[in-house]
C-alpha cells in the first residue's frame, strides 16, 4: 500500500488547465522529485498536497485518508519554501520552536526538540540569531529544521536551493538527502535543476505541460527516456534523424550509413523516418571501426568544458556531439578531420513523441 497517493489530479485556473490526469503513488520514506521547466505544474501539484491549492478534480490521500477536508494547518505536512520564509521577528530557536508551540507542546519537550533539530542542521551555535544575520544557506537549513520539528508525515520542498549559489546548492542538497534518509521521512522535492533531481532522488517525475511524462528512478529517466521531451530535458542528448531500412533486423540508416538497433522497430515500415537519441558520453573515437555500431563523420568543432572536451561532428546532415575525458596528453580532433564514433547498440535509443 502506498503512503501518499495522488489519483487523477486536475487543476485549472480559469480556462487554463495547469495539471492534467496526474497519478502518482509514493512509498513511505521515499524521496521523490518533481522535475520540469517553469510553468509545467510541478509546484501546483506540491501546493495541492500542502493544501494551498484545491484540486479541480481527483483525490490526494495519505495512508488511504483523504486530505480533501483538511486545511493546510491540519495536514501535518512540513514545507520548505524557495524564499526561506523564516519569521523575521523570531530568532533561529524561536523559528524552529514555532510549530511545536502552536501544537501546545510542553516547554521542556520544545526545548529538547529545538536542540535536536539545530544539532541535525549543525547550527546549534546560532540559536539566538535573527534570520537577517544569517546567510541564505544557513536560513534554508533553519527553514528545514523548522519544517521537520513538528514531525510531519510528509516533507515538501519547493525549489529550496534555487536562491543559493552553486557551491552551497551542492552541499545543501547532500545534507537534505542525508537528513531525509536519517529521519526516513517521505519527501517531495520540486526542482527545475536536473542535476539536483538526479543526484538525490529515489524516483523522479518529469513533468511537461501539466502531465507526468515519465516516472522512474534517476537511472531510468537518464538512460531510458520515455518521450522526446524527457530525452531533451534530462541531460544533453543528440537527436538523430534516421530512416528505417529493415524493421525485422532492427536496421536503420543515418545519412548513407547503416546501423543496427537493439530495440525492436514496432510497426515501422521500410522508409519510415524515426528519431534516435545518443548521449554524448556514450560514444568514443575508435580508429577504423566501421560497422553496425559506428558512424563516420566530419568534425565541425571541439569545445573545452573542463573535465571533458565536447566535439561536434556532422554525420549525413545530423550534428552529433560526443565527450572525451580531458587528460594532459589528449589532443582533441581538429575541425575538418574525419573521425569514427563508436558506441554500443543499446546506447542508440528510439525516441517516441
Amino acid at each position: 500500500m502506498s503512503f501518499l497517493t495522488l489519483s487523477n489530479i486536475q487543476k485549472s485556473f480559469g480556462p487554463t488547465q495547469v495539471v492534467k490526469d496526474f497519478d502518482m503513488a509514493i512509498e513511505k520514506g521515499e524521496f521523490v522529485s518533481f522535475l520540469g521547466p517553469s510553468g509545467c505544474g510541478k509546484t501546483t501539484v506540491l501546493r495541492m498536497i500542502a493544501g494551498f491549492e484545491t484540486p479541480s478534480g481527483g483525490t490526494i490521500t495519505i495512508e488511504d485518508r483523504s486530505l480533501a477536508d483538511l486545511k493546510p494547518n491540519q495536514r501535518n505536512i512540513g514545507m520548505v519554501f524557495q524564499a526561506y520564509a523564516l519569521f523575521p521577528n523570531m530568532t533561529v530557536a524561536e523559528n524552529v520552536a514555532f510549530g511545536l508551540k502552536v501544537a501546545g507542546k510542553p516547554k521542556a519537550e520544545i526545548d529538547a526538540r529545538v536542540k535536536e533539530m539545530l544539532g541535525l542542521i549543525k547550527l546549534d551555535h546560532l540559536a539566538g540569531r535573527y534570520p537577517y544575520q544569517m546567510s541564505g544557506g544557513q536560513q534554508q537549513r533553519v527553514a528545514l529544521a523548522r519544517a521537520l520539528a513538528p514531525k510531519p508525515q510528509v516533507l515538501l520542498l519547493d525549489e529550496p536551493l534555487s536562491a543559493l549559489d552553486a557551491k552551497i546548492r551542492v552541499s545543501l542538497r547532500e545534507e537534505i538527502r542525508q537528513i531525509q534518509q536519517q529521519l526516513g521521512i517521505t519527501t517531495v522535492f520540486v526542482t527545475h535543476d536536473q542535476e539536483e533531481a538526479l543526484s538525490i532522488s529515489d524516483r523522479i517525475v518529469v513533468m511537461n505541460a501539466g502531465r507526468a511524462d515519465q516516472i522512474g528512478t534517476p537511472a531510468d529517466i537518464y538512460n531510458r527516456p520515455a518521450t522526446r521531451f524527457v530525452a531533451g530535458f534530462v541531460g544533453t542528448l543528440n537527436l538523430i534523424k534516421a530512416t528505417v531500412v529493415d524493421p525485422a533486423a532492427h536496421r536503420v540508416s543515418i545519412g548513407d550509413q547503416g546501423v543496427t538497433l537493439r530495440e525492436a522497430l514496432d510497426d515501422a515500415k521500410p522508409g519510415d523516418a524515426i528519431s534516435l537519441a545518443l548521449r554524448p558520453e556514450a560514444g568514443s573515437i575508435a580508429p577504423d571501426a566501421r560497422g553496425d555500431t559506428a558512424l563516420v563523420g566530419t568534425v565541425t568543432s571541439s569545445n573545452f568544458l573542463g573535465s571533458v572536451i565536447r566535439t561536434r561532428m556532422d554525420v549525413g546532415g545530423s550534428s552529433i556531439s560526443f565527450d572525451m575525458f580531458n587528460s594532459p596528453g589528449l589532443t582533441p580532433p581538429a575541425a575538418g578531420e574525419t573521425v569514427t564514433l563508436r558506441f554500443t547498440a543499446s546506447d542508440l535509443l528510439i525516441i517516441r513523441d
Binding site: 520564509a85 523575521p88 514555532f98 502552536v102 501544537a103 534570520p131
Partner: protein
C-alpha cells in the same frame, strides 16, 4: 560639484530659516510674560491650568484609543487586501485617501446627521456615545497615514509566503496575524500610530462640533483669550510632535527585520 554643494547649503539655510525663525520668535515671545526679563511663567500658567490637564489627558486617551482601534481596523484590512484581494487595492487606497479630500467639517456634519439623537443609531445621545463617535472621526482622519504606513511595511515582507509557512506549521489565523505578521509590520504600525497621535492632539473641528473637551478646542480658547500662553502651548504642541517623530525614528532603527530585498 563645489557650486552645487554651495547651492544645496543655501537652499538648506533658507528652508531652516523659514521654519526656525517663526519658531524662535514664538518661543522668545512665550518667555516674555514677566516684564523686563525672560521666564517660564507662561508655561507654568499653562501647566497649572486644570483645563489644560483635563483636555490634554482627554486627547491623550482619545489618541491611544484611536491608535488601538485604528490598528485593529487597518492591519487586518491591509493584510487581507495583500493576501486575498489584491485586485481591490486601488479601491481601498482611494477610500483611505478620501479624508484628505473631504474637509473635516463636512465629515462631522455627516456624522451629526447620521448619528444624532433622532437617528437609528443615536450616538450623540450620551457622553460615551459622543466620545465613541469622536474616536471614529479621528480614525477616519488618520486613515490615509495609518493605511499607507502599514501597507508599506507589509510590502517589505512576503506576506503570502510567511502566511503559508505558518499555516504549514499548524498555525490558525489569529496566531498568523498576531505572531507572524503583526510584529513584522510594527515599524509601519508605529509610524501610523505616532502620526495619528499628533493628528488627534491638534485636531479642532471634530472635537469642537461634537462639543468634547479636547486639546484642540482648548488651544483655540486660550489663543483667543490670553497673550503669552498660546505661544507656550504652540511650543508644547511642537515638542509633542517632535517627540513622536523622534520615537518613530528610534523604533524604525531598532527594527529586528532584515533590510528590504529588492
Amino acid at each position: 560639484m563645489k557650486s552645487s554643494r554651495l547651492f544645496a547649503w543655501i537652499a538648506l539655510a533658507i528652508g531652516a530659516t523659514y521654519f526656525l525663525v517663526p519658531l524662535i520668535g514664538t518661543f522668545e515671545f512665550s518667555l516674555r510674560m514677566r516684564r523686563g526679563e525672560y521666564s517660564f511663567d507662561a508655561y507654568q500658567s499653562v501647566f497649572s491650568d486644570m483645563q489644560f490637564r483635563a483636555t490634554f489627558g482627554y486627547s491623550m486617551l482619545m489618541g491611544l484609543l484611536t491608535i488601538v482601534f485604528g490598528m485593529l481596523l487597518v492591519v487586518p484590512t491591509a493584510y487581507w487586501v495583500r493576501l486575498r484581494l489584491p485586485q481591490i487595492r486601488p479601491l481601498i487606497e482611494f477610500l483611505t485617501l478620501l479624508p484628505l479630500v473631504i474637509p473635516a467639517i463636512v465629515i462631522v456634519f455627516g456624522y451629526l446627521r447620521l448619528y444624532n439623537s433622532s437617528s437609528f443609531l443615536p450616538l450623540t445621545n450620551s457622553t460615551n456615545g459622543t466620545n465613541l463617535l469622536l474616536m471614529f472621526s479621528y480614525m477616519t482622519l488618520s486613515l490615509p497615514y495609518m493605511y499607507r504606513a502599514v501597507d508599506t511595511a507589509m510590502r517589505s515582507i512576503d506576506v503570502a509566503t510567511l502566511t503559508e509557512a505558518a499555516e504549514s506549521l499548524g498555525a490558525k489565523w489569529p496566531t498568523i496575524l498576531f505572531r507572524c505578521i503583526f510584529p513584522n509590520v510594527m515599524s509601519g504600525v508605529l509610524s501610523g500610530a505616532f502620526i495619528t497621535f499628533a493628528i488627534v492632539m491638534g485636531e479642532f473641528t471634530m472635537a469642537a462640533l461634537l462639543n468634547r473637551p479636547a486639546f484642540g478646542p482648548y488651544l483655540q480658547f486660550v489663543g483667543a483669550n490670553k497673550a503669552y500662553e498660546p505661544s507656550a502651548l504652540a511650543i508644547i504642541a511642537f515638542a509633542i510632535t517632535w517627540l513622536s517623530m523622534g520615537l518613530l525614528q528610534i523604533v524604525s532603527r531598532f527594527q529586528k527585520t532584515a533590510p528590504v530585498k529588492a
